[in-house]
């Protein structure tokens, strides 16, 4: 099937939201560097944050090949309303319970999204999706083991985690906000769409959390935090961007 202009637009929209999610969560999670609960976890969490930024670079490079500006320009010169990340990823790191729950929800969604994209007819994207399979598998393994351990870590630990799950669930559903070209992407075989992704994500995370002893809120009783995919963000994103681009902005043309 020949790609029309709409397909390319939809593809770019998809790549932007994925790349922005990864860049922003990578930056957020790196804020734990030096502050992690223990040395080994500090290193593991920081290393995964670095992986996320690397994954976002691979996607920004695909966008560049599709005619968008180069990765540094795209990453460091946009304002918050030009970002397509979900609101979930832009929120401050909070305490470790929130960061861990976010990591769990986000990384399972990413893993399934990449799994779906491994079969994309847009080959450069399916190649990227396959390239990071092992990396993402470790990330979800890390999240699962922590969620399980903290569920069994005593009353304070359990209730902190459960509260974070309750508060984060709607934000997580915001990840699956439909784009403007869902039908086009599905028809062309580029991506199976947000609705399918959400369903597969629920099928994965709900039984997993229940097996750890948590109670998962019901989708029908939860308001999804939509807006991020269309440039509507919380007040937390712009300060993050200001901080992230502080050095770049001193001399945007500098040779690194």
């Amino acid at each position: 099937m020949e790609f029309t202009e709409k397909h390319v637009e939809g593809l770019k929209e998809l790549l932007y939201k994925m790349a922005d999610d990864l860049l922003i969560i990578g930056h957020r999670n790196s804020e734990w560097t030096g502050l992690g609960p223990m040395l080994e976890e500090d290193i593991a969490f920081s290393s995964m944050a670095q992986d996320k930024v690397g994954q976002s670079l691979a996607l920004f490079e695909l966008l560049h090949e599709l005619g968008e500006s180069d990765p540094d320009t795209v990453a460091f010169t946009r304002n918050d309303n030009q970002f397509h990340c979900s609101q979930l990823v832009e929120l401050p790191i909070g305490e470790y319970d929130f960061s861990m729950v976010r990591h769990f929800f986000f990384d399972h969604a990413e893993a399934i999204r990449f799994e779906m994209l491994a079969d994309s007819v847009f080959e450069p994207l399916s190649m990227v999706a396959r390239k990071f399979k092992g990396e993402i598998k470790y990330h979800t393994m890390h999240a699962d083991i922590f969620m399980k351990k903290l569920a069994a870590g005593g009353e304070e630990s359990f209730s902190r985690m459960q509260n974070s799950i309750n508060e984060t669930f709607g934000l997580a559903l915001g990840m699956f906000e439909p784009g403007n070209f869902e039908a086009k992407l599905i028809e062309a075989g580029i991506f199976g769409g947000e609705a399918e992704l959400q369903q597969r994500w629920l099928d994965k995370v709900v039984p997993l959390l229940e097996s750890f002893g948590y109670v998962v809120p019901k989708v029908e009783n939860t308001e999804a935090a939509f807006g991020g995919r269309h440039g509507v963000h919380t007040p937390h994103l712009q300060p993050l961007l200001d901080e992230m681009t502080e050095v770049f902005s001193i001399d945007p043309g500098a040779d690194w």
């Binding site: 502050l35 223990m38 080994e40 290193i43 593991a44 922590f146 901080e243």
Partner: protein, 125 residues
């Protein structure tokens, strides 16, 4: 009082508020696990270091990031350090041997390792 940091993330953490910093006593540390890494299937697992962790599963998680970030591993063992039986250095003389029994030294094994490594190297080319 902790020196003010130029890093905004450290500033946000308000570490200079000493009341927020809990004390960690000796027995509150997690136990350690010894980490053994296998570089290639069929080769020996080799000791590469240790990690603190609350259980073996998490030790594996941490070991992967501490010791295998640059690839070069296909398998990991983690073993609680407390499960390792250790000889005493005062008994190190049990390993001594007299010079007139060289015929009992299994030198050929050491040579075989080198021969096999050479074969593996050259067969790749």
């Amino acid at each position: 009082m902790i020196v003010k940091s130029l890093d905004p993330r450290i500033e946000r953490a308000a570490l200079d508020d000493e009341s927020k910093i809990g004390e960690l006593n000796v027995h509150e540390h997690f136990e350690t696990y010894e980490v053994f890494q296998q570089v290639k299937r069929g080769t020996h697992h080799q000791h590469v270091g240790n990690v603190h962790a609350p259980n073996a599963e998490m030790a594996m998680l941490f070991a992967k990031e501490q010791y295998c970030r640059r690839g070069a591993a296909v398998n990991l063992w983690v073993v609680a350090t407390s499960n390792v039986f250790v000889t005493e250095y005062v008994d190190a003389d049990i390993f001594e041997t007299t010079e007139d029994k060289l015929y009992r030294d299994p030198n050929s094994y050491k040579v075989m390792d080198r021969i096999n490594a050479f074969k593996a190297r050259t067969s790749k080319v």
